[in-house]
């Protein structure tokens, strides 16, 4: 009997969290407004009612405090899953994340592990006010000691959140918030997917489009349009931002010789820069055009009325595809 159900991404994460809470009593959820309210995006809805306020905790309003005390709980043998309410509110926790969380296993020379997950809804396309549409993943990808992942589909989200919680290392789990309400099939019988695997989700021959999170949907849409205009597009969902699983990306680059990387984050010194630099280095002889990047502009995320201009859309990606093709 099939175990496939259609779920919106937010509910898929909710189901994954619930499964993790059922599987291991050491798993705890903590954050702001995750209890009775179920989180501002309702990702934890119903979990406090089911597992109680000792396992699903509303904390005082302080991100450094949330991550810092979660570190102490992890030292005690718990597996805390922290929710940061919005991308733009993770910065108060930056010191605890970079100088403590990321370094503690190393500082202890392996004598302890840090099984701690930090969930961060990220990205734009929701028309929100300042600090609510950012893409801070590069700060964490650049930090040794952290694992950084982001699912793009409900199925991946359901499995990857469980893999993240099962990991004995700290995992930054970026949730593409503009996809929260979009449904997709989740195979509950599936055996899960490796936490750090990128995937070719559409095959083509002319140009490789590389992206992650909410951008993946945009890449697929772009590929359709390009197809209709006679350009065959391969699409890679990076899924893991640190480490990056370069295998499928380089295979695709070798095949198409043309690579365009798209991300919502500001482009300068970003994850897209890293992938571009590495593809340009490793696929040096197979590239027929420079690796191109399409990113958010290098400005603070603008007021909502301008988000459509700021965020790479199909047209902007197609413009890069054309440049790659005609180079």
């Amino acid at each position: 009997m099939s175990q496939v159900r259609e779920l919106p991404l937010a509910k898929a994460i909710n189901a994954g969290l619930r499964q993790a809470l059922l599987d291991d009593e050491k798993v705890l959820l903590m954050g702001e407004d995750i209890g009775p309210l179920g989180g501002v995006f309702r990702v934890t809805e119903g979990l406090q009612a089911e597992f109680g306020a000792r396992r699903v905790m509303d904390t005082p309003l302080a991100e450094s405090g949330i991550v810092g005390t979660a570190i102490g709980l992890a030292m005690r043998g718990y597996r805390p899953v922290c929710e940061i309410q919005f991308d733009g509110f993770i910065y108060p926790a930056f010191n605890q994340i970079t100088s403590q969380l990321a370094k503690l296993t190393n500082r202890h020379e392996g004598a302890l592990t840090m099984p701690l997950v930090i969930r961060v809804p990220f990205g734009g396309h929701i028309g929100a006010i300042e600090h609510h549409q950012e893409s801070p993943e590069a700060y964490f990808a650049h930090t040794p000691g952290l694992r950084v992942v982001t699912p793009s589909t409900p199925h991946d989200a359901y499995w990857m959140i469980q893999e993240a919680i099962a990991s004995n290392d700290p995992v930054m789990f970026f949730e593409p918030k503009s996809r929260y309400w979009h449904k997709g099939p989740v195979d509950f019988a599936g055996s899960g997917i490796p936490l750090h695997s990128s995937r070719i989700i559409r095959s083509g021959t002319d140009v490789t489009l590389v992206g992650y999170g909410a951008m993946v949907t945009m890449l697929l849409r772009t590929a359709e349009i390009a197809e209709s205009e006679g350009t065959s597009i391969e699409v890679v969902d990076v899924r893991s931002l640190s480490p990056v699983d370069y295998g499928p990306i380089l295979d695709s680059a070798a095949k198409t010789g043309r690579v365009v990387i798209a991300a919502e984050a500001p482009g300068f010194a970003s994850v897209a820069s890293e992938i571009a630099a590495t593809v340009a280095e490793k696929a040096f002889y197979s590239l027929e055009a420079p690796v191109l990047r399409v990113s958010g502009f290098d400005v603070p995320f603008p007021p909502a009325k301008l988000e459509a201009v700021y965020l790479p859309d199909a047209d902007r990606i197609l413009e890069a595809v054309d440049r790659a093709m005609t180079f």
């Binding site: 309210l37 179920g38 904390t59 309003l61 733009g88 909502a304 201009v309």
Partner: protein
């Protein structure tokens, strides 16, 4: 530990004025000094901002704004403290102090502009009676306020003894904000530097869905004791207490007395924002008990007792309607900023990346035109 004393109240929920005792008399004196005109202004501002709040909420529901952040129930705390500030003072709000902005001369349409996604704030504090921009990152503004207040002291513009010229800062934050490290650090720096500054804490009992009891099990004004900052808890739904206490504390601060902390006990009658659903986390009984303490009703009762006429109340109601109508008409016609404006103010001096990306965007949009 200090025994929590009851919140200072001058005007009871039933609209009766407190009798003078050693705690109230100095503040009652400050109230006595208010003219009828000033008192009527308090009433008018509370009514107008509540009407504005209703109008804005409607605009949001009708899709004219992505989000609305209401202040219903907190009018007394805000209007009283807003009027307590002198012309030369600087005010650092959180994101809910619409009436304070209005009092200082902000066109409240600027708030709608921000929540509609046209700006990130964008007003010039110099043009808005020193009412600074909203800060959405909880607590961050308290450090800005403390640094600003230090600047006043360094300028020699506090502590001269001339309350008409000496400047002070008032910074607004909520009960949830008290848990943020930045707020504690601002108390530390303010106490260390003895800044001319009043910390105005609106304890509206909730931080979105989290009750104040999760933030602290002890009255929050006592936080001041731990940092060596004189503090007081007031009935935040009593506009007279809010005005008189803030007035006095600001004058003590501007006169070189160092920072002060006021905890105004109030309640967020509406949802946290238009995206929130309070029924998920709080019960009707609590809401009712606080509605019974409504700041506007009690002040109206008192004003009537003092002789305010039906005509006056009708006038204010009419004025509130006009202002609401004006806001609506201007809100719905707000335009969209030019795309390239996102590059204009990231830096105040030339920047090659801004120039290059702006130029690229201009060409790109032109090319789209052609292909269209």
């Amino acid at each position: 530990m200090t025994e929590p004393t009851a919140a200072l109240q001058l005007l009871a929920p039933d609209g009766t004025l407190a009798a003078p005792d050693e705690r109230t008399e100095r503040f009652l004196a400050t109230v006595d000094a208010l003219s009828d005109g000033e008192l009527e202004r308090f009433y008018r501002d509370m009514v107008v901002i509540r009407r504005f709040d209703v109008e804005a909420a409607n605009l949001q529901r009708q899709g004219e704004m992505g989000l609305w952040v209401g202040s219903m129930g907190q009018e007394a705390a805000q209007v009283g403290s807003g009027h307590a500030a002198r012309a030369q003072d600087h005010l650092f709000p959180a994101y809910r102090e619409h009436s304070v902005g209005m009092i200082r001369g902000l066109d409240v349409l600027d708030i709608i502009r921000m929540l509609r996604g046209v700006t990130h704030g964008g007003w010039d504090p110099v043009q808005t009676g020193n009412f600074h921009l909203y800060t959405l990152v909880i607590g961050a503004q308290t450090l800005h306020a403390t640094g600003y207040a230090l600047g006043i002291a360094l300028d020699g513009l506090s502590g001269t003894g001339d309350v008409g010229r000496d400047q002070a800062v008032i910074v607004y934050f909520g009960d949830g904000a008290t848990s943020q490290g930045d707020v504690s650090e601002s108390l530390t720096f303010a106490a260390s530097w003895q800044t001319p500054e009043v910390f105005f804490l609106q304890n509206n009992q909730w931080a979105i869905s989290v009750p104040v009891s999760t933030q602290s099990r002890t009255p929050l004004h006592l936080r001041g004791d731990g940092f060596g900052i004189p503090n007081i808890q007031i009935d935040g739904n009593d506009v007279l207490a809010s005005y008189a206490v803030t007035r006095r504390m600001l004058d003590e601060a501007r006169s070189g007395g160092g920072p002060r902390l006021i905890e105004a006990m109030t309640y967020r009658i509406g949802a946290h924002t238009s995206s929130d659903d309070p029924t998920k986390y709080r019960d009707d009984a609590e809401l009712q008990s606080w509605s019974a303490k409504d700041p506007i009703t009690r002040f109206a009762t008192w004003l009537r007792g003092k002789g305010a006429t039906d005509a006056f109340f009708a006038e204010v109601a009419a004025e509130a309607e006009d202002i609401a109508a004006d806001i609506r008409s201007r809100a719905v016609t707000l335009g969209v900023p030019p795309a390239t404006s996102m590059f204009d103010h990231v830096y105040s001096e030339p920047h090659p990346v801004m120039d290059a990306q702006r130029a690229w965007l201009v060409d790109y949009e032109a090319s789209l035109e052609e292909n269209a």
